[in-house]
């Protein structure tokens, strides 16, 4: 497995009606009451700590898991903790139809894979991606699959900068590898 190819257990962020939750903002992901925490290792326990129905996520999630979220995931503040808390839990990647702009940058810069999947809403509505399913993701090709259900859907391929930074490990390593940048 690399920074652009994954296989892992899916967690699909649904509400009580079984719909993908949209506009999950950074206060629901990592509440501002914990912003004083600066150690990444301590952040995992607060992931989704303010999202109704998902407050027990840190105790359920395991390394390599893939989070599947609704449109505009990570709206709101610029806090890096909202990305780092998932990295701390070992979550491998997040798939969503779209992300908050700052959130997306933060993830890319810290080398955490986030992938835009416009078809996600429809696949989830059809019941073709459920929590617990094994998801296979190819970020370079721009494709995801749930092999057990025979489902394949397109992802927006990673941009060049995103690929370069992910491959380098993070923005700092990328910057040092190209002094001109």
């Amino acid at each position: 497995m690399s920074q652009t190819h994954f296989e892992g257990r899916a967690w699909v962020l649904l509400d009580k009606q079984g719909r993908l939750i949209e506009d999950i903002d950074t206060d629901q992901i990592f509440h501002n009451a914990h912003l004083h925490i600066t150690e990444t290792a301590q952040m995992g326990g607060y992931a989704l700590g303010n999202l109704e129905g998902w407050k027990d996520f840190p105790s359920k999630a395991g390394p390599g898991d893939i989070l599947v979220a609704g449109r505009n995931f990570g709206a709101g503040s610029s806090r890096q903790q909202a990305v780092d808390c998932f990295a701390a839990l070992g979550v491998a990647a997040i798939l969503a139809p779209s992300f908050g702009a700052i959130y997306f940058r933060n993830a890319v810069n810290s080398g955490f894979p986030v992938l835009k999947a416009p078809a996600l809403e429809e696949r989830v509505r059809e019941g073709k991606i459920l929590s617990g399913d094994i998801l296979r993701v190819d970020g370079t090709k721009g494709e995801a699959a749930v092999p057990s259900r025979g489902v394949v859907f397109a992802l927006e391929p990673l941009s060049r900068v995103q690929t370069d930074i992910l491959r380098a490990g993070n923005l700092f390593l990328f910057g040092k590898s190209r002094p001109g940048s």
Binding site: E22, D23, D25, D27, Q28, H31, N32, A33, L35, H36, T38, N50, E52, R71, N72, A75, G76, S77, S78, R79, Q80, V83, S98, G100, A101, I102, R105, N106, N109, S110, S159, R160, V161, N170, L171, F172, G175, S181
Partner: protein, 416 residues
């Protein structure tokens, strides 16, 4: 092909060809960090770059989230930033100064056609003065502290044209809530926006700040209001000491979409929890009991906002079981409130007046709502938990003041 306002600003800071969708490197006139994010910026910076010195002409700290620090952890974090700043000769706009984005405007550091980044997601408020402000995370900012640059995916620009005149009771806040009502978080997502038309042309600086701050809630990258009254130039010059000469879009600039919105007769609006885009007319919620009113935040904490509240509160007392929190954006606003007597008016009406900063909006020096508490707030977000465990309604300062007097959601016209 012609360029939009944002494309021009980025182009002036980049050697790469700037067009929507391209990823370019751009230079940053101001790189700043606040008291959240800041300690992490320092940590990343020292780990990655050791003793190298950030450029003191362009690198700043602004403390606003918890000012003065009300927890030991915040006190520690601010001191980490202070120590780093002293070591490298950087300026800190400390806990006495106010909300970073506003301080940067007042200091003339975030002027037209400049690029400014900070660890504050409402940095795009700076679109109000024709500046490309962007909030970023602490990895981004640490990199910017060292290199003075960042990568950016040039967003498409959308033009929103207002038709018609809002009612005289509507303010810049109501207009922004109107856009949220019509376009939600979807239509302007990840785009730059140029707003035009009668409804925005005459906005004062403080109105523009209110309006542009809510572009974040619309999921937009930044908003500009290119048309302006001549008085705005003078107002900005008087405040910042800088000439106001923002770029205009080329005639043949290309827009991803042009959206027309009819704002004729727009009444005062209010956003219900749990989202800034759940907008209704204030009239529909009139009488909803409240416990607290909060006037402040980067969205509605300038002199004009408090003056609007004071006009209603003068010679009156707020409802006996209601708390009214007043938090100016900056020390300079507090000074003006003192000089104009507005502070006295607010105090006499029963308000609590707090040090300038983000208090009341985030978990900082003013306190948040408790479970079951109902609040009318002039801030920009009412997501669950953002302003506490209670329910937060977003509205203009006039509606917040009228509601504080009535003890329930009320319109300014209800105040007699």
């Amino acid at each position: 092909m012609g360029q939009t306002i944002l494309e021009k600003i980025i182009q002036a800071h980049s050697a790469d060809a700037v067009r929507p969708g391209s990823v370019v490197w751009m230079s940053l006139d101001v790189r700043s960090a606040r008291d959240f994010g800041g300690p992490n910026v320092v940590k990343h910076y020292e780990r990655e770059y050791g003793e190298a010195r950030p450029d003191p002409e362009h690198t700043f700290f602004t403390f606003d989230l918890c000012a003065p620090a009300c927890t030991l952890k915040y006190a520690d974090n601010q001191q980490i930033c202070r120590d780093f700043a002293r070591k490298h000769g950087l300026t800190v706009f400390d806990v006495d100064r106010g909300i970073g984005s506003h301080v940067l405007i007042e200091e003339g550091l975030a002027g037209p056609n400049t690029t400014v980044v900070g660890t504050d997601s409402h940095m795009n408020i700076l679109g109000a003065v024709g500046c490309f402000g962007q909030g970023m995370g602490d990895v981004d900012i640490a990199f910017a502290f060292r290199t003075g640059r960042t990568w950016f995916e040039v967003p498409p620009t959308i033009k929103v044209v207002f038709k018609g005149r809002p009612s005289s009771a509507a303010t810049a806040k109501d207009l922004a809530l109107f856009v949220l009502q019509k376009l939600g978080t979807r239509d302007l997502a990840n785009a730059a926006v140029e707003f035009e038309g009668d409804a925005v042309r005459d906005l004062t600086l403080s109105g523009r700040i209110t309006f542009c701050s809510l572009v974040t809630e619309m999921a937009g990258i930044i908003g500009f209001v290119p048309e302006h009254a001549p008085a705005l130039k003078d107002e900005i010059k008087a405040l910042t000491g800088r000439d106001f000469d923002p770029f205009r879009a080329d005639k043949d600039a290309s827009y991803e979409r042009i959206i027309e919105l009819d704002a004729s007769g727009l009444p005062p609006l209010i956003a219900e929890p749990p989202s800034p885009s759940h907008v209704r007319e204030v009239r529909e919620l009139r009488g909803t009991r409240i416990d607290t009113a909060f006037i402040g935040s980067c969205t509605n904490g300038r002199l004009e906002d408090f003056a609007a509240a004071a006009r209603l509160l003068k010679g009156r007392r707020i409802a006996p079981d209601v708390t009214l929190k007043i938090v100016p954006t900056t020390r300079r606003v507090t000074e003006e409130l003192l000089r104009t007597g507005i502070l006295q008016t607010l105090f006499d009406a029963g308000a609590i007046v707090v040090n300038a900063g983000c208090g009341g909006c985030a978990d900082g020096h003013t306190g948040l709502t408790g479970r079951g508490e109902v609040q009318v707030s002039t801030a920009n977000r009412n997501f669950p938990g953002k302003q506490g465990k209670g329910s937060t309604y977003l509205a203009s300062p006039a509606v917040a003041a009228a509601s504080a007097l009535a003890g329930a959601v009320a319109l300014p016209e209800d105040v007699r």
